[in-house]
Symmetry: C2
Amino acid sequence: MATYKSIIAYDGTDFQGFQRQAEELRTVQGVIENALRELGWLERSITAAGRTDAGVHARGQVIAYALDWRHEIENLSKALNANLPPDVAVRQTEVAQPGFHPRFSARVRRYSYTLISTPVRDPLRERFAWRIWPEPNLEAMEAAATMLVGRYDFAAYGQAPSSDGHTIREVFRAQWHRKHDVIVFEIEANAFLHHMVRRLVGAMIEVGAGRVKRDEIRELLDDPQLRWEGRIAAAQGLCLETVIYD
Amino acid sequence: MATYKSIIAYDGTDFQGFQRQAEELRTVQGVIENALRELGWLERSITAAGRTDAGVHARGQVIAYALDWRHEIENLSKALNANLPPDVAVRQTEVAQPGFHPRFSARVRRYSYTLISTPVRDPLRERFAWRIWPEPNLEAMEAAATMLVGRYDFAAYGQAPSSDGHTIREVFRAQWHRKHDVIVFEIEANAFLHHMVRRLVGAMIEVGAGRVKRDEIRELLDDPQLRWEGRIAAAQGLCLETVIYD
């Protein structure tokens, strides 16, 4: 019996989020646990780096599970993929370091948020991007993003998870850039509050639209009495890209 | 009463193709006709440039329909989009020239076919691309593509539509290229036979994999007794990009 670490990608559109809920709700955790049971997995629950919301995607979610696997490790990914639906895939599997926990061992999480800006709906892109129109001012959004880098109380931009209890997070990088025909925000932090990236993106879009001043974004930082009451960016633009461990 | 021409985009994944069929099958034509009826449309059928198969996408399908519309023309696209599901959108609408027919007036059709090449499944990209592994030789595929340009009998690569009866088509352009992290084939012709692009892509991939010689692709041209019996590329990589009229 060893503990394995797998990197998971999924299209979150048809899931009620990552975390297992009532039997009848389709969750990423639920379909992965079902696939693992086909390989003889006997635990009650896998552990994961982050609980993405309904509709949020992942290219680099990390999970861990103990399994009695007697074959080559590459075949473990293949066996899991054979039991997973088309919208979830195991990208890579390795034996975890002793004491490894996908959430508590994580040092850095990177999320991306993808926007498109067109006047009409785009059925070929809106599954993985949020459409806004008119096009916001990217320079204003870039300037707002730089103010987020640092160690702050982000209470105004999200709820603390129950396991944690405080709302201080350290953002290492926050940048907007154009990538081909989309606009992408990338943010790295030690951890995130619930809905934090979507609230920050919503706030920066308001800055880009000229409806909110850049300084208002800053004023909400480090004041746990305040709340961002404006726009929250839609789930389908968000993707958990990478989780970094030591 | 005027005849309108609209450019339509759709994610073909959840449709049984473009063409209306039995009531219970979800088709692109069916949902567009339902949306038009909400605006008072009374005809029996719209006309379209091409009948894409189940799972095939479009960015530039063209349709025509007669409608008594008393408002601004931009509002016609908006009104249709309000009645269409998220996987279909009207990109643009204009009054059609007298005698215009989306299929018979078309001079050039352009399709794209998108491949990704990764060893494991990719839930965030396979909706709009076909995954093949190992990676085929792109230079060999490019060389095979150049042989398709010209006026040939393509009977070996597809069935004639019932409205036509012959299998001679003229290909104006056929090129493979890398675009960001995908491999894209673009082909322009006066018209296409049923399954022609998917058979040609399947044949070129076999050339790129070294299993079929480039000259075999050529030998099947202009000989209506022969058939390409090999691989047919999957529907989800194909997209009707543009239809050009005089």
